[in-house]
C-alpha cells in the first residue's frame, strides 16, 4: 500500500511538474523567444569578454538615440551557432533563428552559399562597406553581394618576447618586413643563444600554412577549382613549416590549452597568428612590458607575397527570417559600421581591434600599450589590416583545411610531400562530390 501510494505521488508530482513547467517555459518561451518585435533584437554570439561585450556596448550607444531599443544577447558558442543554424534551416523551423548572428569568417562562404535565402543581402542597405578592410568584406561576398558586417580583426601579427630577443642581440625591428628565410635564420640564432624557441603551434592545425597562403594572395581554391598540388605558394609554405619544425624553432603541441600554455609559461618566446591572440598573451601579468608586435614574414620567391595576412575573425550577419530586418540593419550600420565611439570604448578591455577604418582615429587606438613596451599596437594593427590580401575561402573551406592539416602532419612524419598533397586533393575532391 505504502509503495503504491508513493509511486502514485511521484507520478502525480511528475504530471504537475510537466504541466506547470510546460506553461512556465511556454510563457518564458513567448517572452524571450528569438522572435522579437518592434524595438528589440536578438543576437547569437559567444565570448563574454569580447563579442558579447562589444554587442552590449553597441546597444548602449544605439540607445542614446533610440531609448526604447532593447538588445537580447544569447550566449552561444560558435559550434552551437552552426549546429542551431543548420538544424533550424534544414528542418524548416526558421522561427527559432535570431535577428543577427555572429559567424566565423571561415564559415561565411559555406553558409551563405548553401543556405541562399537565409541571410540578408546588405549590398545596398546603406552600410558603407568601402570603409572596412576590403579583405574582410570579400569574405562575406558571394556572387558580388555582401552579406556580412565585418567585426573582429584576424589580422596576423608576430608577437615576440623582447627580453629574450635582447639576450640574443636582436630587437623587434629585426622582424619587420622580412622574409621567411630571414626569420628562420634569426630564430635559429636565438634558439642557439637562449635555448628558447620562438614559436609554437598546434600539431595538425593548418592555421600557420593557411596564413602564409593568404599573405601571398592565394588559397586552396582558385574560383571553384581545387588549387593544391600545383599551388607554388602552398608548396613553399609547407616547406617553411617543415623547416620551422625540423630546426626546432617551432614547437608543436597537441591542443589549444597547451598552445596557450607555451607562451604563458615562457616555454616559447612568441606567437604568430591572428591579433586576437594578444588577449591570451596578456594572461601572464609577470610578462608585462616584455612583448612587442610586428608584421609577419613573407614567402621567399613567391609572386605577390606580402607581409600581411589574416587568421580567423568573424562577421555579423542579418537573418532574412528576422521580423526586424530594418532595425537590425540600422543598428549595425550605426554601431559596427558607423561608430568610432564604439570601437574606442571596447578596445582597452577586450583588445577587440576594428576592421572599420575610421575607428583607427579613436583616442584609445593611440594608446602606448604598457604590456607591449609602450608600442602603439592598435594603430599598428589597424594599419596592417589595410594591407591584407583579399582571398575567397570558398564553400569547401573546412574540408580543405582538414585535408591540409592532415597532409602537414604526414609530411612532418616523413611522408613524401607530393604524395601527401595528392592524397589531400583526392580527399577534398571526394567531399566535393567529384
Amino acid at each position: 500500500m505504502k509503495r503504491k501510494l508513493s509511486v502514485l505521488l511521484i507520478v502525480a508530482m511528475l504530471v504537475t511538474m510537466l504541466g506547470s513547467c510546460g506553461t512556465a517555459s511556454n510563457n518564458k518561451g513567448g517572452k524571450n523567444n528569438s522572435k522579437s518585435s518592434g524595438n528589440a533584437l536578438t543576437v547569437w554570439c559567444w565570448d563574454k569578454n569580447f563579442n558579447i561585450y562589444a554587442m552590449n556596448e553597441a546597444a548602449k550607444i544605439y540607445q542614446k538615440d533610440h531609448p526604447d531599443f532593447k538588445l537580447n544577447v544569447v550566449e552561444t558558442p560558435w559550434d552551437d551557432v552552426q549546429t542551431k543554424l543548420t538544424t533550424a534551416v534544414t528542418s524548416g523551423q526558421t522561427g527559432t533563428l535570431p535577428d543577427i548572428l555572429l559567424m566565423q569568417d571561415n564559415a561565411l562562404a559555406k553558409n551563405i552559399t548553401n543556405y541562399p535565402k537565409t541571410f540578408v543581402d546588405l549590398t545596398n542597405s546603406g552600410i558603407d562597406f568601402s570603409k572596412f578592410a576590403q579583405y574582410k568584406v570579400a569574405l562575406s561576398t558571394v556572387n558580388s553581394k555582401v552579406y556580412g558586417v565585418p567585426f573582429d580583426s584576424g589580422t596576423a601579427v608576430t608577437a615576440l618576447r623582447t627580453d629574450v630577443l635582447q639576450k640574443a642581440g636582436y630587437t623587434i625591428n629585426d622582424f619587420k618586413n622580412i622574409t621567411w628565410s630571414r626569420f628562420i635564420e634569426i630564430a635559429k640564432d636565438v634558439l642557439k643563444k637562449t635555448n628558447i624557441p620562438l614559436l609554437s603551434s598546434q600539431a595538425g592545425s593548418p592555421d600557420l600554412v593557411m596564413m602564409m597562403l593568404q599573405s601571398a594572395g592565394t588559397w586552396t581554391f582558385k574560383g571553384d577549382k581545387l588549387y593544391i598540388s600545383d599551388n607554388p605558394a602552398l608548396l613553399k609554405a609547407i616547406d617553411v613549416y617543415v623547416e620551422l619544425v625540423k630546426s626546432k624553432v617551432l614547437v608543436e603541441v597537441n591542443n589549444w590549452d597547451q598552445y596557450v600554455g607555451t607562451f604563458n609559461t615562457g616555454k616559447v618566446a612568441g606567437a604568430m597568428t591572428g591579433c586576437w591572440i594578444l588577449a591570451s598573451v596578456q594572461a601572464n601579468k609577470d610578462q608585462k612590458g616584455k612583448w612587442a608586435v610586428t608584421n609577419i614574414p613573407k614567402l621567399d620567391g613567391i609572386e605577390n607575397a606580402t607581409n600581411y595576412s589574416s587568421v580567423g575573425g568573424s562577421s555579423w550577419l542579418v537573418l532574412s527570417t528576422s521580423k526586424n530586418k530594418d532595425l537590425a540593419i540600422d543598428f549595425l550600420g550605426k554601431t559596427f559600421a558607423g561608430s568610432t565611439e564604439l570601437y574606442n570604448t571596447i578596445l582597452p578591455t577586450s583588445s577587440a581591434i576594428a576592421t572599420w577604418g575610421p575607428a583607427g582615429t579613436g583616442s584609445n587606438y593611440e594608446i602606448a600599450h604598457e604590456f607591449f613596451e609602450g608600442q602603439k599596437i592598435f594603430q599598428d594593427i589597424v594599419e596592417y589590416g589595410k594591407n591584407v590580401p583579399k582571398v575567397s575561402y570558398g564553400v569547401y573551406n573546412y574540408e580543405a583545411r582538414d585535408a591540409i592539416g592532415t597532409a602537414i602532419t604526414k609530411i612532418i612524419s616523413g611522408t613524401d610531400k607530393a604524395a601527401a598533397l595528392k592524397e589531400a586533393e583526392s580527399t577534398v575532391k571526394f567531399q566535393m562530390g567529384k
Binding site: G22, E75, Q93
Partner: protein, 270 residues
C-alpha cells in the same frame, strides 16, 4: 587462514590502486579549481589560493545558479519518468514473454544503434510540427524511454525468481501490485544502477537541450561550461571550478543510492 588473509590483502591492494588511478585526474581537477589559469596550464597540482577569486569570477561571468537549477529540474524529471516507464516495460518483456513481444524488444534494441546526429534533425522537425519546441515536454520526451533502461530491467528480471510471482498470484495479487510490492523492493540494486546512470546521462545531455530550448534562461550546466571555453581567452581555474560544481549532483545521487548494493536477495526471499 593465512591464505584468506593474503586474499583479502590482495583485494585491498587492487582496489586501492584502481581507486588512486580513478581519483587522480579528479583530484587534479579539484586542485585546479583553486589555482589561477596560467598555473593550471603549467600543470600545477598543488592547491592554490584562488578558489574564492575563481568563484567570484564564475558567478560574475555566468548564471550558475540558474543553470544548476535547470539541469537539476530536467534531470530529475527525465530520470524519474524514464525509470518508471522503462522498469515496468523491461519487467514485462521478461515476465510476460511471448515471441511477438520479443520481436518488439529486438526492434526497439535497434533504435539505440544509430548515432544521434542522424536522427536529431528529423526528430526536431517532427517536434516542430507537433509544436513541442521550447517546451519542457519536448525536452523530456526523447529521454523518457531509453533502450538501456528497458534492457537493464529486462536482464534484471531474468535473474528474478519467478516463484515469487507465482505464489503472489496464487494469493490473489494483481499484476501491477506484484511489480510494485515484490519486484521493485527486491531489485533495489537494479533501480540504483538505473537511476544513477539515467541521472548522469540526462545531466550531461548536450545536443538535444541545445536545439530544443530557445530561451537563454533555460541554459543547462553543460551549456554553461561550454560557454566558458568558447572565447578567445579561457580562464582554466574558473572552468575547473564550474566543472567540479557540475559533477556534484551525480555524485550525491550515487552516494545516497549505493547503500542498496549491500543488501542481497537472501533477506527478502526468506
Amino acid at each position: 587462514m593465512t591464505k584468506r588473509r593474503i586474499g583479502i590483502a590482495v583485494e585491498y591492494i587492487v582496489l586501492t590502486i584502481v581507486s588512486v588511478i580513478s581519483l587522480f585526474p579528479l583530484f587534479w581537477m579539484l586542485m585546479s579549481a583553486t589555482n589561477k589559469s596560467t598555473d593550471v596550464l603549467a600543470g600545477r597540482i598543488l592547491p592554490g589560493q584562488k578558489l574564492i577569486e575563481n568563484m567570484g569570477n564564475l558567478l560574475k561571468t555566468a548564471n550558475v545558479g540558474q543553470a544548476m537549477m535547470n539541469s537539476f529540474k530536467y534531470s530529475v524529471l527525465t530520470t524519474v519518468g524514464s525509470v518508471l516507464i522503462c522498469s515496468i516495460a523491461g519487467y514485462a518483456f521478461e515476465v510476460y514473454y511471448t515471441k511477438s513481444k520479443n520481436m518488439v524488444f529486438n526492434l526497439l534494441l535497434i533504435s539505440m544503434m544509430i548515432p544521434f546526429a542522424a536522427t536529431m534533425i528529423p526528430l526536431y522537425t517532427l517536434f516542430g510540427k507537433l509544436n513541442l519546441l521550447n517546451k519542457t515536454l519536448g525536452f523530456a520526451l526523447p529521454s523518457l524511454s531509453t533502450v538501456l533502461l528497458i534492457f537493464l530491467f529486462r536482464q534484471s528480471a531474468q535473474s528474478f525468481p519467478k516463484s515469487i510471482i507465482e505464489s503472489a498470484r496464487l494469493d490473489g495479487a494483481g499484476e501491477l501490485r506484484i511489480f510494485l510490492e515484490f519486484f521493485v523492493p527486491i531489485t533495489k540494486h537494479t533501480f540504483t544502477a538505473g537511476i544513477t546512470v539515467a541521472f548522469m546521462s540526462n545531466w550531461n545531455n548536450y545536443l538535444w537541450p541545445l536545439i530544443i530550448m530557445q530561451s537563454p534562461t533555460s541554459r543547462t550546466m553543460p551549456q554553461l561550461i561550454s560557454g566558458l571555453t568558447s572565447g578567445y581567452v579561457t580562464d582554466y581555474g574558473m572552468l575547473m571550478l564550474a566543472v567540479s560544481i557540475s559533477i556534484l549532483p551525480t555524485v550525491v545521487v550515487f552516494l545516497i543510492l549505493q547503500k542498496n548494493f549491500v543488501e542481497g536477495i537472501t533477506g527478502a526471499v526468506k
